[in-house]
Symmetry: D2
Subunit: 340 residues, 4 copies
C-alpha cells in the first residue's frame, strides 16, 4: 500500500514533536518533511533523542499530500493559505481557522484575518461533534487544548438542554501546554510546587468554547466564565465545569447514561463512574468524562481529563487526518496511557 | 519573662510536626510536651531530622497551660474534653468543635457529638472574622484548610451583599493536605504528574464554609458547590470562587478597595492586584487574595492562596494562641515564604 | 495466525500493570489470564482506567503457554516451579532465579532457595549479553532495574579490559522503582522535593551486578560499590559509573566507537555523544549510554538511562519473550518515548 | 542598637532574593539598598510577592557598610573592586575571588583576573574551615554550592589522612541551582520528570574543590572526578563521595566519632547516623553529613545534604557576614527546615 505523504510545519515545538512521534509510528502514513527554524539542518533524532528518525529538519516543507501546521497564530494562516492553493490538505493546529466570525480575530488575536472565506470553509476539528464534515474537509482547524476538554465535558448536557446558559469552566493544565518557548512562568523553579490562575481578563480559548457550545444550544448564547490554571505537572488538563440544572428531575444514573449514549460512537471518549485522573490519559488520545449532580444545590458538575499534547493537540490532529483520509478513526492512536 | 508552657497532642502528623517547628522558634512560649503513638519514646530530632529539639515524644501530655490537639475527628474530642476540665486552654485542629449544629456531626462525621455545650462555647478560630471572641476563648476550633482559603476569599463580598447565595468554590490542594497516613491516593507514583477531583458527593469541609458564610450573609443560606482537587505539589491551596454579582455597578478598582478595607487590620491577608501563586505563601502564614470581575458575565471571581499547613492549619493555630495569650497576633509567625 | 497465550501473575503491581499495557498491544501474543490478590474479581480497566481491557483479574493463572511472574522474591519461586512442571515457559521478574550461587539467597534474600537445579538452568535475561541462551530457555530470570542500567553501561569496558576491577556505581532512580506497596518513603509529601541515598549497607541488586560483570571480566572479581538513590520523579534510572582506566591510550572517539561496535546488534541500546536524559526513555524500551573519559584523572565515566518499568522490568521481559518465541526482538516494543 | 547597613547587588536572581529574605528578618542588620537591572524602580514586594518589603530596587548600591555581590563571574569583580576601595566590606557570592591561582581564571572562567592581589587577600568563606580568617576579612569569597556540600563531606577524612587522593564526587542538584536566567534545560517540561548529568568535560566548581581539599591534605593534590547532575526538585544538593580508605582499621563508629569531633564547633553541620535527605535542609542553613564504610571494598562513602540556596549560597553568605561583624554565627539563621 502506498503510504500518504505527510509533513509538519514547525516540528520543534511540543505539539510538533508530539506529532512527529505519532506519525513516525502511524501504519498508513509516512512523515516525509518537517520544518523548524532554530533546528533546521539537524536530524530529528539528534534534536529530540526520544525519536528514532534520521529525517532532516528543513526550512521549507516539500512533497506532502497532507500537512500539519503547528505554528503560533497569524504565522500559521500565512503558511497554510499557499499550501491549500497548491492542493495540499491541511490540519491547522493554531487558532487561525477556528473562529467563524472574522471580527473575533482583531478582538482576541490582534490581527485582521487574511482569508474570511476560509473561515467559513474550515471545519472545527472536534470529531465527536463534526465527524462528517471533517471527512471531506480541505482545511481542518484543530481545537485548542482547553476547548477540547471543556466542550467534550459539556456537549451532551448543552445539547439536551439539561443546563441553561450559565456555565463556569475551571481548568487545571500541565505546564507543557504553555509551549516550548522560554518564559519566566514556565521556568522550572517558578512553576514547580506552585499553582496559579491566569488570563482572568479573558483567555483566547474562550470564544471557541462559546462558539461550539452555542452551536449545540437551543437557548441563548452561553454565558461562560473560563479560568485556566497552571499546576505543576508536564502533561494533562483537568477541567471542572459547573452549571445549574434546568430541572431537578434527572438522576445520577440517567445523566451517566445520557453521556454514554451521546458518545457511543466516539472511540476516544470514556464516561467514568468516578472522578477521572489526568494520569490515566498521559500519552494517549483518550478523554475521560465524569458527569455528576450536586443534589444539594441542583447543579451539574462535569469533569474531564485529557493529555493536552495528545487529545488536546497532536493526537486529535491525527484523528482528524485519519477521518480526512478515510482511515479508521483510531489508526495509529491505539496506545494506552503510560501509567504510573 | 516566664514563657507559657505549651504542648502538642499527636506531633507525628504533618500538622503536629509543623506546629512543633513553629512553637520551637516562638519567642514567648515553650514547647514542653508532645505526644504521638507510633513515635513515642523517641526524640523529636531523631524522628524529624529537620527539627532541632531533643524533646522526647511521650504517650501522654503533661504540664502544659495551653494545648494543641492535632488528632483526627472524634478522637480529638475525647482528649480535649478532659484537658478543658483540668483548666488547660485548647486550640483544637480537628473538626470536632467547628460546627455549631450538633446534628451535623452524625450527618457529616458519623458520630454523635459528646459535648453539645462545648459546641456553643467553642470559637471558630478564623481571627479575621472572630478575633475578639478568640482572645477570651477557652476552646478554639481551628478551621479546616479549605474553609480558611474559601472563607477569606468570599467574606468581604458576602458581608457587603455584593453577591447572592449562588457560590461555586473550586479548590486545588497540595498533597500534604491529605496527611501523613499512608494511602494509595498519596503514594508518590500515583499522585505525581496527576490532577484529580474528589469528594464530589460532599466534602466534610462544606458545612464549615456554609456556616461561616451564612453568619456573614444577610440573604438566604448560601448554596455552595465545593469541589476539592489534588494537584502534584507538597504544600499550598489555591481556591477559585465564582458567584454572580448582585449588581453590575461595582468596578474592579472598587472591589479591590473594598477587600483592602475589609482586611485592613488583618496582618496575614494581602490583597493582590494580580492572580496570586501558592508558591508565594509556602512556609508562611500569609493568605493572598485577588478579587476580580468577569465583566462579560457579571460574575465575581476571587482567588486565594495559602500554605495549607501554615495558615491552613498550624500557623493559624499559633495565631489563635497568640490572641488567647494577649500576644501580638504575628508573634513567631513573621517568617516570609520560602521562594522559589 | 494463532496468537500465543500469555499470562501475568500479580498484575496489580507496577511491573505487572506495565506488562499488561505492553501485552495488550502486542501483535503476536494474547493476554488471556491475569492474577492479583487485592483486585481479584475486577476488570483490568476498572482497577486501571488507563487500560482498555475487560479481562477479569483472577486468583489463579490458567490456560497460558508463557507466563510472566511479577511477584516479590521467595513468593515467585513458589509459583514458578509448578508452572515449569506443567510445561509453561516463564519469564520471572523477581530475583529468585537471577543468581547462580544458591548460597547467595540466604545471604542476600534471607531464604534457602528451593530449586538449586533451576538456578543453573535459568538464563539471566539481559538479551544484549545472553541473547542466544534466552532463545531456547524454559526459564528466564529478568534482571533487576538497577543491574540493567549498570551492566549495559559497563559491559563493553569490562569485556575489553579497558578498566580494572575498581568500580563505583551511583544510581538515581524514580520512585516507581520502589513499587506500589505503601511505605512512608514513597508517600508523596516525603518523596517529593527530596533526594536521598539508601541501602548503603548493600543493596540486593549488588550480587547480580558483580556476577554479570565478573562473567565478562578476565581480571579479578569486580570490587563494586553500588549506591542507589531516590529522586523525585516517577520513572527513570540514571546510572553514573566510575572506574580507573587500565591505560590512558584510548581516546574519547575510540571509546564511543568501541561501545557502538559492542552494541551494533542491540536494537534497544543507543550510544550517545552527550549525556543522556531519563526523559528521553520514558515509556520506551531504550537504554541510552554515554561513555566518556575524565582525562584529568584517567578515569572512565559511563552514564546510562532507562525507564525502570520498561527496559528495567516489563519491556525487557517482553523482549525476552520475543526471543523465546522466535519473534523479532522489537515486536510490540517499538513505541518511542513520551516526551516531554 | 544601631543596625549595620547592608546591601545586595543583583537582588533579582535566586541567590539575591534569598539574601533579601534572610536579611529582612535579621535582627542585627538592616537591608537598606538593593540593585537589579531588569526590576529597577519596582518595590521588592511587587516583584517578589513573598517578601514583605517596600524597598525600591535601584540601579546603584548606596549607603551600605557591608555588601553582598550576587552577580555572575567577571561582572562581580568589576563591581566589587570599587566598593572595597570605598571601604565597604564585601561578601562576594560569585567565583571571582575563590581561586588563589590567578592562572585558573583564564583556564576555567575565560577571563584574565583584574586584581591578583585581592585573590591573595580574599578569604574562602567556608566558616567550618576558615572561621578565624573570615572574622577579620575585608573580602570574603562565598563558596560555590557544590563545593560547600563536597568539601564539608570530605574535609574530616582528608584532614585525617583516612583516604588517599583518589576521590569521586557525584552530586545531585535541584534546578534552582541553575539560576533564574531562562534556559531550555531549566524549562519546566524539560527538567520535570528528568535526571541528567552535565559538564562532564569539567565543571567550574572543580578547581575550588581541589584547592580546598589540597589545603587540608598532607598527600598529593587530590585527583577528583566531579560529576554534577540535575534532578527534578527546586532546592537541595545531595552529594555522594567515594574514596578508597588508606587503611581498613577504622570502624563505622570511629568514623562517625571522628566526624563529630571535627565539626564539634560547627553549629550548621550535623553528623547523621543514617543517610540524610535534602528535604530535611530545605530553607535552612544546615548541612547533614553521613560518613559510612563500604567494608566489602574498603571504601569510604560520605553523603551530604544542603539547601543550595541557603548553606550553598545566601545562608552561608549571612553566616560569613555574622562572623565579619562579630555577631554569633547563627544570628538570623536559626530557622529550621520547612518539612515536608
Amino acid at each position: 500500500m502506498n503510504k500518504i505523504k505527510t509533513g509538519i510545519i514547525n516540528v520543534s515545538g511540543y505539539t510538533g514533536v508530539e506529532l512527529a512521534r505519532l506519525l513516525l509510528s502511524h501504519p498508513a502514513v509516512e512523515l516525509v518533511s518537517v520544518t523548524g527554524r532554530s533546528a533546521a539542518g539537524q536530524k530529528l533524532e539528534d534534536v529530540f533523542p526520544h525519536l528514532n528518525s534520521e529525517l532532516v529538519i528543513k526550512a521549507e516543507l516539500g512533497g506532502v499530500e497532507l500537512a500539519f501546521a503547528a505554528l503560533p497564530h497569524k504565522q500559521s494562516a500565512a503558511e497554510v493559505i499557499p499550501l491549500l492553493e497548491k492542493g495540499v490538505r491541511v490540519v491547522d493546529i493554531s487558532a487561525d481557522f477556528r473562529l467563524k466570525e472574522a471580527a473575533a480575530y482583531p478582538q482576541w488575536y490582534g490581527f485582521n484575518h487574511p482569508a474570511h472565506q476560509l473561515l467559513k470553509e474550515a471545519v472545527y476539528g472536534l470529531p465527536e461533534l463534526h465527524r462528517e464534515d471533517i471527512v471531506s474537509a480541505r482545511l481542518v482547524a484543530n481545537p485548542g487544548c482547553y476547548p477540547t476538554g471543556a466542550i467534550l465535558a459539556l456537549a451532551p448536557a448543552v445539547k439536551q438542554g439539561l443546563i441553561g446558559n450559565h456555565i463556569i469552566i475551571d481548568s487545571k493544565s500541565g505546564v507543557s501546554g504553555a509551549g516550548r518557548t522560554l518564559n519566566i512562568k514556565t521556568h522550572y523553579a517558578e512553576a514547580n510546587e506552585d499553582a496559579a490562575a491566569y488570563a482572568l481578563e479573558g483567555h483566547r480559548h474562550l470564544p471557541e468554547i462559546v462558539q461550539e457550545l452555542g452551536l449545540l444550544s437551543t437557548a441563548d448564547e452561553p454565558a461562560v466564565t473560563f479560568v485556566p490554571h497552571l499546576v505543576p505537572m508536564t502533561r494533562g488538563i483537568l477541567t471542572t465545569c459547573y452549571a445549574p440544572l434546568a430541572s431537578n428531575v434527572i438522576t445520577q444514573a440517567e445523566i451517566v447514561q445520557l453521556y454514554r449514549d451521546f458518545y457511543k460512537d466516539a472511540p476516544f471518549v470514556r464516561i467514568m463512574d468516578c472522578p477521572p485522573h489526568t494520569k490515566h490519559t498521559s500519552g494517549s488520545n483518550m478523554c475521560l468524562v465524569h458527569p455528576s449532580i450536586d443534589s444539594r444545590t441542583g447543579r451539574l458538575v462535569v469533569i474531564s481529563c485529557i493529555d493536552n499534547l495528545v487529545k488536546g493537540a497532536a493526537g486529535q490532529a491525527v484523528q482528524n487526518m485519519n477521518l480526512m483520509l478515510g482511515l479508521p478513526e483510531t489508526t495509529g492512536l491505539e496506545a494506552m496511557a503510560v501509567y504510573p
